[in-house]
Amino acid sequence: MGKVIIHATMSLDGFIAGPHDDMEWVFKYSSDSMADEIMRETGAIVLGKRTFDISLKNNQLPYGATVKVPQFVITNEAQEAKSIGGLVFTFVMDGVPHAIEMAKAAAGNKNVSVLGASIEQQCLKAQLADEIVLHLAPVLLGEGIRLFDHLGPLPIELERTEAVTTADITSLRFRVLKRRRST
């Protein structure tokens, strides 16, 4: 059974996009072996409608459209599936858990990558995420869209299972430990 992986490049101050949804800042950093491994082992992708819209607008499809796997977009409006850039996007209307379930079924033994702050937050809160993979960039963006926001009082314990460093990026892989029931 594949895992559900939250995957993002994040500035040291916690942003995955700069002001006005800017994603250009990410491209000055090089990819690394951990990113390659995650992409190789991805069997399906789940993203929010907003992330989908921004991807289309900026002509930056998930993983540069190099990972040819089913894509599930969580949305409020019914839409026919679309094929864009060799990727097939299916629109899922009944919430994050259902979209994750569909993506897991589509991924088979491979993993599900979750992209976009809002969906990632919902996955964490609903305890649907098995791992978090972050490429930590050496920059303070100051403003933008935070990856870890609106989580509410938790805590969620993690275990760092892997670290890879390149000249600039620090890639960290965490296992999400299952929460004990609060007493």
């Binding site: 500035s11 916690g14 800042w25 930590l136 403003e143 009082p153 969620i156 760092r160």
Partner: protein
């Protein structure tokens, strides 16, 4: 040339203390988790007047950041929260300059720690700290607002983040209101300990 440095234990979601921090609960709700990696280290225990503890890589990391400190600049919130815990012999053992809005007489404690209250801003506090530190470093241990002011004013040279593998969900964010960036950093060291990842950065000016 002496450096201006900072060391902070931060959760993966960016908090250096939990919610509802106060002098009674200096690290806020659940915030003790962020300092858990420190309490059993020999190098942390010694300046706190405690004996024993582990002498491992984490202990060296803490010792390194503490060893070359000649003066400290801290925020008022950290002082207010810390003062009741520190007692008569605070763990700094050097002159401490507290960013403050109120006039208050200098406080002389045991073990070399003095608290001087500076009302005219970070640059002035830093100038006084540099003078006191000589060729040793000036350390900015917190709170978040003080570190943010140093970053925003371009006065911080290096910072070490001790990244703790937990999501607190709520609390005091380290990187808040530093203004529109980007501020470029250069990672100068990574140490992967089992319970914490030490990330050291130089701030590119």
């Amino acid at each position: 040339m002496s450096k201006v440095t900072s060391d902070l234990s931060m959760s993966l979601d960016g908090f250096i203390a939990g919610a509802l921090d106060s002098p009674e609960l200096p690290l806020g709700e659940g915030g003790e988790r962020l300092h858990q990696w420190l309490y059993d280290l020999a190098s942390w225990r010694e300046p706190h007047g405690l004996t024993g503890g582990q002498t491992n890589r984490d202990s060296e990391v803490f010792d390194e950041s503490f060893r070359n400190i000649g003066a400290v600049v801290m925020g008022k919130r950290m002082f207010n929260h810390g003062e009741p815990q520190w007692g008569d012999n605070p763990p700094f053992h050097v002159p401490v300059f507290v960013l403050s809005h109120e006039a208050r007489d200098r406080v002389v404690k045991q073990g070399g720690t003095t608290f001087t209250f500076v009302r005219d801003g970070v640059a002035s506090a830093l100038a006084q700290a540099r003078a006191a530190a000589g060729d040793r470093d000036v350390w900015v241990p917190g709170g978040a607002a003080a570190v943010q002011q140093f970053i925003a004013a371009g006065l911080l040279d290096e910072m070490q983040i001790h990244l703790v593998p937990v999501l607190l969900g709520d609390g005091v964010r380290l990187f808040d209101s530093i203004g529109a960036g980007p501020i470029e950093l250069e990672r100068i060291r990574v140490i992967e300990s089992p319970g914490v990842t030490h990330l050291q950065f130089r701030i590119v000016k």
